[in-house]
């Protein structure tokens, strides 16, 4: 092979696309799992327990969960590294701006980089809040997500950070899914309409599904 995949801008985009799809699949599962909060504390707390016994008895306690975590960390690192390196290349390739500027691309397209940074920062806060409990506003209790979630969304900043991040996620997925499909060579003149529609549906469903939880706590549906 004359060059490795990582040496090529198209190859790096492939890494970004595949890692993005891995995270997207995880997010769909995560969003569906979150909605268990609307069935009461029993349901979601049991679900949290199941996440740790997944794959048993073949897999030891928490092995499946750690496997998912490792895959996710690898995906985040691959996604962020390729995004950083490709962005550096892109910015270098257009050193002088036009005097007469025109914004012609969509909002989702223009905010991919900042949106990605917002999401990266959000993930750090989110893990410190609801996985380790380090910055949790209430008395964090391991394996009791129902109360932990209510505590987080009982603070104004918890709601603001979460909702901003979820909206950023919606925009990121809208352009990201479509972009990944093109990078992986799925796009064509006949398929592009379907791909754009799937991207829009995914973006809206993920946004609504995730936002439902803080809205549920704020409106008292979950208490």
């Amino acid at each position: 092979m004359p060059r490795t995949i990582w040496d090529s801008s198209v190859g790096k985009k492939t890494v970004m696309a595949v890692s993005g799809i891995v995270m997207l699949l995880y997010l769909v599962a995560h969003m569906i799992g979150n909605l268990k909060i609307f069935f009461g504390p029993e349901d979601i707390n049991q679900y949290a327990h199941w996440l740790r016994t997944m794959g048993a008895p073949v897999l030891h306690h928490e092995w499946a969960l750690w496997l998912v975590r490792i895959v996710l960390v690898l995906a985040v690192v691959a996604h962020a590294t390729s995004a950083y390196q490709l962005s550096r290349r892109d910015i270098k390739a257009r050193p002088s701006k036009y005097v007469h500027k025109k914004a012609k691309s969509s909002y989702a397209t223009r905010t991919m980089r900042w949106g990605g940074i917002i999401l990266g920062l959000f993930i750090v806060w989110h893990i410190l809040d609801l996985t380790t409990g380090t910055v949790h506003p209430g008395g964090f209790e391991h394996l009791h997500p129902y109360q932990n979630i209510i505590d987080t969304f009982s603070t104004w900043y918890g709601n603001v950070i979460y909702i901003v991040a979820v909206v950023a996620l919606g925009f990121h997925v809208r352009h990201g899914f479509w972009s990944a499909a093109q990078t992986l060579g799925v796009g064509s003149a006949t398929r592009d309409r379907v791909l754009r529609a799937v991207a829009d549906v995914l973006a809206v469903l993920l946004t609504l599904g995730f936002v439902a939880v803080p809205v549920g706590v704020m409106t008292g549906v979950v208490s």
């Binding site: 040496d7 801008s9 397209t109």
Partner: protein
């Protein structure tokens, strides 16, 4: 028509450039944009000033030499080449901004002229078919399905003007390279070099300092020949296929 032009002036590749303002009068609606610039240059020469340098050749919309960003649009407001843009697309009293293509891989030579030889080197890397010399082959010896011939022709329409690079916020040459790769890769004549062509041309594109594709779609909107955005997905498909094939040996 009377117009105010704000034109990018730059003495040479190393000098700093800037926008200069000129007034032109007596412009007919039937003039092409380049004829309007000719009028300006005639006045500048009579005044003893340095005329504005800009690229042009066939003035028929087929050679790909003309290259101006007009009011922020590559080739101006109509979907055609600058030479086929007419002054009826503007109104009396308009102020028009005229800038060169902007990309690290297209350095400014002078005023509105940029060096597009990076495109030539991408073509040299694989934008050809190797054919044995001799008598012309029998036309029916290699049948080409109609759909493939149409796809090849659609991509062959690329005139290599560089509007895609100029319009792209990343200064990416993906649309140009994909047009050239797809044009030959769909044809049986291009098949023997199908893998090396896409790998070498993408490699050269990267080496020239073009940016990557973020699927903003601005290239396909600016393309005077209507090379479609799915071209890029088709090239990515070719690249992935070639990478798999080459790594398998």
């Amino acid at each position: 028509m009377k117009l105010t032009l704000r034109v990018w002036r730059q003495k040479n590749a190393d000098a700093d450039g800037g926008m200069s303002t000129y007034e032109v009068d007596g412009i007919s609606q039937d003039m092409s944009f380049l004829e309007m610039l000719d009028t300006l240059n005639e006045e500048l020469i009579l005044r003893g000033d340095d005329p504005v340098a800009f690229d042009h050749d066939c003035r028929e919309g087929i050679c790909g030499a003309c290259s101006l960003v007009i009011n922020g649009d590559a080739h101006g407001p109509e979907r055609t080449t600058t030479c086929q843009l007419h002054m009826r697309s503007f109104r009396d009293g308009d102020t028009i901004d005229i800038e060169p293509w902007r990309a690290a891989a297209f350095p400014v030579v002078k005023d509105l002229v940029v060096d597009r030889s990076a495109f030539d080197r991408i073509i040299q890397a694989g934008g050809y078919v190797s054919v044995p010399t001799g008598a012309a082959p029998e036309a029916h010896a290699t049948p080409v399905p109609k759909a493939d011939a149409d796809a090849a022709f659609e991509h062959a329409e690329c005139i290599g003007c560089g509007a895609c690079v100029a319009a792209c916020p990343n200064g990416s040459a993906m649309l140009f390279t994909s047009a050239k790769v797809n044009h030959l890769n769909v044809l049986p004549q291009g098949a023997p070099e199908r893998e090396t062509r896409v790998l070498d041309m993408v490699g050269q594109m990267d080496d020239e300092g073009f940016g990557g594709c973020t699927l903003t779609g601005e290239c396909a909107t600016a393309c005077p020949k209507g090379i479609p955005l799915p071209s890029i997905a088709a090239m990515n498909r070719e690249w992935l296929r070639a990478t798999r094939k080459v790594s398998r040996g």
